[in-house]
Symmetry: C3
């Protein structure tokens, strides 16, 4: 990992988790040439998933924290994909943000900013990504947010 | 921009809007090699977003118009990404279409045709794209439709 | 098609369907360099779509069968894209799994395993993919599941 990125993670108080591989016929990431695809990550921390439904039992601030946890897990998966060397990230190309939402909750962008802000805090300009943010009816394990990602790597 | 594409836009009565950059840590587009990723675009026009929920307060025809506005914004972002030269578009590879839908609205393909038809009207065969169309519970700002895109460029 | 992949399809009792092209301005697949994008596929078989809403009128097992049908159609589209030679598949890079879900259904991963398991049964290690699985409010034609895909090809 480049020292600069590690320094930023340290300054943010983030220790990348060791994530278990999915118990299924899919994998946390795939690489094709210079493109790294990261599977949808849930807002899990210490084995607990942040559950919730925006517009009902979950505030925008809680949703942002959930999105931030998704982004930490994305970075952890990217690190695993790159043998621990996050300095190989050229650019975060795209985040796909899914927010568990009632029919009357319309602040998905604010929620997913929790992920976008962290990616840019860690990767600086290389973290600036295209994005889609949508409200979905439900997410795995009752999660409030799910985020997937595509990176350009070297 | 290639004259041919400009002529088609003119014939369709479309003036590409000047879009503001998002006030956040994401960007309207990223480029990796020959691939251009466009962020999810809302059906905005003159600062107003077409709101709605298909199956409830919004007709298929209104949804199609919303999807068409999303596609105009996609083309405007592609133009910005390519320094105004839409002749650099080799192919529209994929559209992702999200339609704010009740549980009993199943005409997402008809709605997203509003975007697909415009992309092909502007780019002709180079506009023929792969696509996914799904119904979501809610979209940013109460939008009826959101569409993102991937292009091959030269 | 490589003999090995055909043998696995035969052992699974799967005959790839001849799929009609969409009656619209989009196409079932696009290719950019080594990347193949497959449009969202519905759980259709013999002209019938498996309808349903998970958490309401459809069981996890029925959802898995629907996801498996989506994956069969993905493979059929990939075969068409590759002139019948599925041996040109280098890797399934990503599946996007959309499950029609009530607000209280959280087993999207189990449902989409129906697609993931089939892709790996057919392509072996080359079938191991990144994935996102989310619950949506409704899908085209009332389908229970929709899955799209990205492949690396040679």
């Amino acid at each position: 990992m480049s020292a600069e990125i590690q320094n930023r993670l340290t300054a943010l108080g983030i220790t990348l988790p060791q994530l278990a591989a999915p118990l299924a016929n899919y994998v946390p990431f795939t690489i094709s040439g210079n493109t790294l695809y990261i599977s949808g990550q849930l807002p899990s921390k210490d084995g607990q998933v942040m559950k919730g439904l925006l517009g009902d039992n979950t505030s925008v601030e809680q949703g942002q924290e959930a999105a931030r946890l998704c982004a930490i897990n994305i970075i952890a998966q990217a690190s695993a994909a790159l043998g621990g060397d996050l300095g190989r990230v050229v650019r975060c190309l795209r985040l796909g943000g899914f927010v568990a939402s009632t029919q009357s909750f319309f602040d998905q962008p604010k929620v997913i900013n929790g992920a976008s802000d962290l990616i840019v805090a860690v990767f600086a300009d290389a973290g600036k990504h295209a994005r889609a943010a949508v409200g979905v009816s439900a997410l795995p394990l009752g999660a409030a947010v799910e985020v997937d990602a595509i990176f350009e790597i070297k």
